[in-house]
């Protein structure tokens, strides 16, 4: 007869952390929150503590050396999660400075034991643990003392049924530190500075018995505390697939016909064209068409000078809350963060249409360290958005080259279900625009290159330039017609 023990999971209350840990924090686990100074360890610990602590499940927060407690309280109370009323009720701070200054780990342990026995906390925090280690250095046998201290502390906390967090400054994760062996969970916070952007990332290096998400995950500290941006696919549920004949109108007369009835719902469309070709106008028309059909939409705007103000219908729809806007002016945004913001807006508005305008601006807005993974992250983003049931239009700046036919600088063409390309051509000394539907996956579509114009009412699709050829080369030639001689 085998009856396994059930390990309860605690919900940490830190957005994204439960997903990252693989489903919350195991009860009675012994965890280490590590990282360089200023990377958010104490903030993370406080956020977890205020979220989890109740009078029935009280928390003890031991401050050792390092940051003076008054200063810690001064800064931590700036966060929304900090609750004055909880202090001395469900949250108790205990200063171990005197014991630690004496450099005697046994005294530190005795005091911890005493306080734990007196208050029977369900949650215990020791901040910072690094200072405990430093305080004991110099007597020659630090490693052994520390090992013994760790084992005793771990044993004590587990048998007192306390979920424990040691907060420590560690500069290298390759330290053969006894703490790493004893700990059930290792939460490592890192920060990297590149140019003028600072990016914070979290890694769960170890979480016993839990399928935690591997790798580094971006997080941000705002007035609400720590927020982790876990990869989209892990936190979203796929929407049921649409039928291929369920189409979303593009909002441009004639374009739906070119696409055999519009953009299939749940598809992603790449709209590529040179600067000034009217990509944003077409993308706005797509959102406006949704609103006219009773749908809602979300636009992620990364263009430096958004022309939304000029598009009255779009501006009105935004004002009336039918179209949500996701913008980020931070210099270190990650794709996961944008995905998080988009998903939030999509859920809030129950949006069925999403526009990213433009991918080029999006890439510029990303923190330098995120740019390397742009393609991979974008693929996940598109999958996640369509997984949410949204029909997605992304615009992409396309350098006009008349020697080759390219759709995007990122190789994004393969990851989208449909592609519309816009080009400039020269006809009779005039710059004219043509548009073509290049791809609609699993669907018939027009193969025509159609001229179009942009005016106050939007995009008008014109006729086929049937008497021209070589359009994509940029210098079309007229067929079956003699070019009128200019020179007499």
């Amino acid at each position: 007869m085998t009856s396994k023990v059930t390990i309860n999971s605690l919900s940490t209350g830190v957005p994204g952390l439960d997903d990252l840990l693989g489903g919350g924090l195991p009860e009675f686990s012994f965890n280490l929150i590590a990282g360089q100074p200023g990377c958010g360890k104490t903030t993370l610990a406080h956020q977890i503590m205020f979220s989890l602590a109740t009078e029935a499940r009280p928390a003890l927060y031991f401050t050792v050396l390092g940051e003076p407690p008054l200063k810690m309280l001064r800064y931590q109370q700036q966060f929304a999660f900090f609750n004055h009323d909880a202090i001395n009720r469900s949250v108790r701070f205990v200063n171990l400075c005197d014991e630690a200054m004496a450099g005697d780990l046994d005294r530190v342990l005795a005091r911890i034991t005493e306080e734990v026995a007196a208050h029977e906390p369900a949650l215990v925090f020791v901040d910072s643990f690094r200072s405990v280690v430093l305080a004991t250095q110099g007597d020659g046998n630090t490693h052994n003392h520390l090992q013994r201290f760790m084992q005793q502390l771990g044993m004590l906390m587990t048998s007192w049924q306390a979920t424990t967090f040691l907060i420590g400054e560690y500069f290298t994760d390759s330290d053969a530190n006894p703490v790493f062996t004893v700990a059930d969970g290792l939460i490592w916070l890192r920060q990297s500075v590149q140019r003028n952007a600072m990016v914070r990332k979290m890694e769960i290096m170890k979480m016993r018995g839990q399928p935690s998400l591997p790798g580094l995950h971006a997080f941000r500290i705002t007035e609400d505390g720590v927020k982790i941006f876990v990869p989209a696919a892990n936190s979203l549920i796929s929407a049921p697939p649409y039928a291929i004949d369920d189409r979303a109108s593009m909002g441009v007369p004639g374009l739906d016909e070119m696409m055999n009835g519009g953009l299939p719902r749940g598809y992603s469309l790449l709209l590529a064209g040179p600067s000034g070709s009217g990509k944003s106008i077409l993308a706005a028309a797509f959102l406006n068409a949704g609103v006219r059909n009773g749908e809602t939409g979300v636009i992620a705007a990364f263009e430096r000078r958004p022309n939304r103000a000029h598009n009255k219908e779009l501006a009105q729809n935004i004002e009336q809350g039918r179209i949500g806007v996701v913008e980020s002016d931070a210099a270190d945004v990650s794709i996961e963060e944008v995905m998080h913001l988009l998903a939030q807006e999509i859920r809030r508005l129950k949006a069925s249409r999403v526009v990213i305008d433009s991918l080029s601006g999006f890439e510029l807005a990303l923190g330098p360290s995120f740019k390397d993974d742009f393609r991979e992250s974008l693929l996940r983003l598109v999958a996640a958005l369509t997984g949410l049931g949204a029909t997605v239009v992304m615009t992409s700046e396309l350098e006009d080259r008349y020697t080759d036919l390219r759709f995007s600088p990122y190789g994004t063409a393969f990851m989208t279900d449909a592609i519309i390309v816009q080009r400039y051509i020269e006809v009779e000394s005039r710059l004219r625009r043509v548009m073509a539907v290049v791809k609609v996956r699993d669907s018939a579509h027009s193969d025509e290159l159609r001229e179009y114009s942009v005016d106050d009412s939007g995009i008008r699709i014109g006729t086929l330039l049937a008497d021209q050829e070589g359009l994509l080369g940029g210098r079309p030639a007229t067929r079956h017609r003699t070019v009128p001689a200019i020179e007499a």
């Binding site: 003076p68 407690p69 008054l70 202090i87 001395n88 701070f93 200063n95 171990l96």
Partner: protein, 142 residues
């Protein structure tokens, strides 16, 4: 709001001393109140943290009451409560009462500047409630 909060904080000393109390009684009450404050804060900010706060308080109070200046020791140890009591005992009751109130008022402001009024109130709750419990025993009219 400010005057209300202020009265809540200066009240403990008023509660601990009767209106006709002599300097001895006032000094004893100040001593007891400070001991309660220390007991409330010491677990959280450590004995050195409390001593540092009190030294700053005394430094500020000595500007108005120079006779408090001898209490500003330079070492890391806690403030000498015996000396504190002796200094207050040596004053006229009215002056001792005024200086004592000022001392706790300055302390309140100092702590509130650092961690905000709501949190300081929260941390010092036990010190204040001790004083209100002690009040009847100190009050000859009850």
């Amino acid at each position: 709001m400010d005057s209300q909060e202020s009265s809540r904080l200066t009240a403990p000393l008023a509660h601990r001393v009767a209106e006709d109390a002599d300097s001895h009684q006032i000094a004893a009450a100040i001593n007891a109140l400070w001991t309660d404050i220390e007991a409330a804060l010491q677990p959280i900010v450590g004995s050195r943290g409390v001593a540092a706060l009190f030294k700053r308080t005394l430094h500020l109070a000595a500007a108005r009451h120079p006779w408090l200046a001898p209490l500003k020791p330079g070492n890391d140890d806690a403030v000498d409560l015996g000396q504190l009591t002796a200094l207050f005992t040596a004053q006229q009751p009215a002056l001792a009462r005024e200086a004592g109130s000022a001392l706790f008022e300055i302390f309140r402001e100092l702590l509130a500047t650092l961690i905000g009024t709501p949190l300081s109130e929260r941390l010092l709750q036990t010190a204040w409630s001790n004083s209100s419990r002690a009040a009847p025993a100190q009050d000859p009219k009850s």
